[in-house]
């Protein structure tokens, strides 16, 4: 256990979680594909910092391993895969979206309020240290989901998916001080495989339609 008072510790965790949420908004407002990927890497770094902070404050050691894996896979490996994919594409920014950016930001603001409203009854039941992060985690999951709906390019949809996964990880850390290590390992493996599959899928999409706009998939032909 640390020498820090639980109140100061809880405020630090809150601060980290808020930074995670802010990077979500930056992703929603960002048009450049490579910047979206960079922001996702930054978000994962904040996530690892949050996890390490929780591990330090609670003395639960296996969260450190999860934090290290987060840095390895989500800060380095997956962004590199996505960067490789983007390099091959003929577009660097997303100009047409299903929902434009100002409206998207407002919807995300509403999603945050909804997340806070939903978690309000259960927050007092949680652990003292991370209980506020649960609301933020739910908000991040919802925003990730919204990003997948609002964007058309396969790469940004993948970023949305990964943001959702980050939210779930934060939620698990917030609600239960992390999942058992074996489950965490499985999840990391899944995310890595998902990243690889989307990389290959985007290549195929680019070859077949000369675009990574997933809405072209609705006009499949023989």
């Amino acid at each position: 256990m640390s020498s820090m008072s639980p109140h100061a510790g809880s405020q630090l965790v809150d601060l980290c979680a808020v930074l995670l949420l802010l990077t979500c908004f930056a992703i929603v407002a960002q048009r450049r594909l490579s910047a979206c990927v960079d922001l996702f890497a930054l978000q994962s770094l904040f996530l690892a910092a949050t996890a390490a902070l929780v591990a330090f404050l609670t003395g639960i050691h296996h969260i450190y391993i999860a934090a290290a894996l987060t840095i390895l896979i989500k800060v380095f490996v997956i962004p590199r895969i996505l960067k490789k994919v983007i390099e091959r594409l003929n577009v660097s920014r997303e100009l047409v979206m299903n929902v434009n950016i100002p409206a998207g930001l407002l919807i995300c603001g509403a999603l945050v309020i909804i997340a806070f409203f939903i978690t309000q009854p259960i927050i007092p039941l949680g652990y003292l240290l991370t209980r506020d992060s649960l609301a933020i985690a739910l908000a991040i999951v919802l925003i990730g989901f919204f990003t997948m709906i609002a964007r058309k390019k396969a790469v940004t949809q993948m970023v949305g998916f990964l943001v959702m996964e980050n939210g779930l990880f934060l939620g698990a850390t917030a609600a239960a001080y992390g999942m058992p290590l074996i489950v965490e390992l499985g999840v990391f493996f899944d995310v890595l495989v998902a990243g690889l599959i989307v990389g290959i899928y985007t290549h195929r999409l680019q070859d077949a339609f000369d675009s990574v706009d997933t809405s072209t998939l609705t006009v499949l032909k023989e």
Partner: protein, 316 residues
């Protein structure tokens, strides 16, 4: 009573004397970052003095609004500045209005500037006015909400009470995340409202991009000097709100000579540091396309909204 009078007079003197220095400092930082020597930081004083000596030219098609606007803008901006605690946390003018009065005094100046831009009937003036109206309407809610997020922590909309309580760290509910978010949102609004780079470029008269300069295009002589000076005061008011409402530490919490001296020095240092930051931002970022400005201000609005929401959820 005399003490309060003295504080007010010194505050007016500072509000009048500092803006050209701040403008000069920003220009100097930009010049240094572009590997130029740049004009002296005192150059804006000389510019103002020169403009005051020149004879103004007023178009024969304009109405009284055109000649009244410089005085209205100047005095409303100065009055707004008097509501903000600058070096003493208990501002003697705090009875006169709270943060809502501050916002609307600044809006009054903007409104008359928009009218004056339309009044001369030139195409550029009207274009500048319409753009300024867009920016002002989008910036105002974000500005209100971000100050309200801070007002909630102190339990008062009176700026002096907020600053006093925050400086002493008593009677307030602290939570860093909402505070930071409100600060970032307010900073974006300050850049937009004072016509700095991501929204407007004060250094150019390119017709496609200018906003604030387009409205001033018909002005000359002492009218132009007053409006430029008022723009400087407006910038200083925004920087003062950032420096004192969001980070008031160092301000004099009681009127004793030593504390006031420290408060003044700390204030000038804080405001100069913010001016340096603005200079760096202006050198690092390109001006946004006009149609992207709502995205930036929308993000600021969302940030300040979240700051309010976080205040309610995180305090428990």
């Amino acid at each position: 009573m005399n003490l309060a009078m003295a504080v007010v007079i010194v505050q007016i003197a500072m509000l009048l004397a500092l803006p050209p220095f701040i403008i000069g400092l920003i220009r100097k930082v930009k010049a240094r970052l572009q590997c130029r020597r740049g004009a002296s930081v005192l150059q804006p004083y000389a510019d103002l003095a020169k403009l005051f000596k020149k004879q103004p030219v007023v178009s024969s098609t304009t109405s009284w609004i055109f000649t009244a606007t410089p005085y209205i803008v100047f005095s409303s901006t100065l009055a707004a500045g008097l509501l903000v605690p600058i070096f003493v946390s208990q501002n003697p003018f705090n009875f006169a209005g709270n943060v809502i009065a501050l916002v609307y005094l600044l809006a009054l100046g903007t409104f008359f500037l928009i009218l004056a831009g339309l009044d001369a009937g030139s195409a550029f003036g009207g274009m500048g006015s319409s753009r300024e109206a867009i920016v002002a309407t989008l910036a105002e809610p974000a500005m209100m909400l971000s100050i309200f997020a801070i007002a909630l922590t102190a339990g008062s909309t009176n700026l002096s009470t907020i600053v006093h309580k925050t400086a002493l760290m008593e009677g307030i509910i602290t939570a860093p995340p909402p505070h930071l978010m409100a600060l970032v949102a307010f900073f974006v609004v300050a850049l937009a409202e004072t016509g700095r780079v991501p929204v407007d470029n004060p250094a150019t008269h390119l017709e496609l991009t200018m906003i604030h300069e387009a409205m001033l295009l018909e002005y000359s002589g002492r009218y132009l000097a007053l409006l430029e000076w008022a723009a400087g005061i407006k910038l200083l008011v925004f920087l003062s709100v950032i420096a004192n409402v969001f980070a008031p530490w160092g301000i004099a919490t009681s009127v004793t000579p030593a504390k006031v001296a420290v408060g003044m020095v700390v204030y000038v240092v804080k405001v100069s540091a913010l001016a340096l930051l603005i200079g760096v931002i202006e050198s690092m970022f390109a001006k946004l396309r006009l149609f992207r400005v709502p995205e930036l201000l929308g993000a600021a609005f969302i940030l300040s909204l979240l700051a309010l929401v976080f205040f309610y959820t995180l305090r428990g």
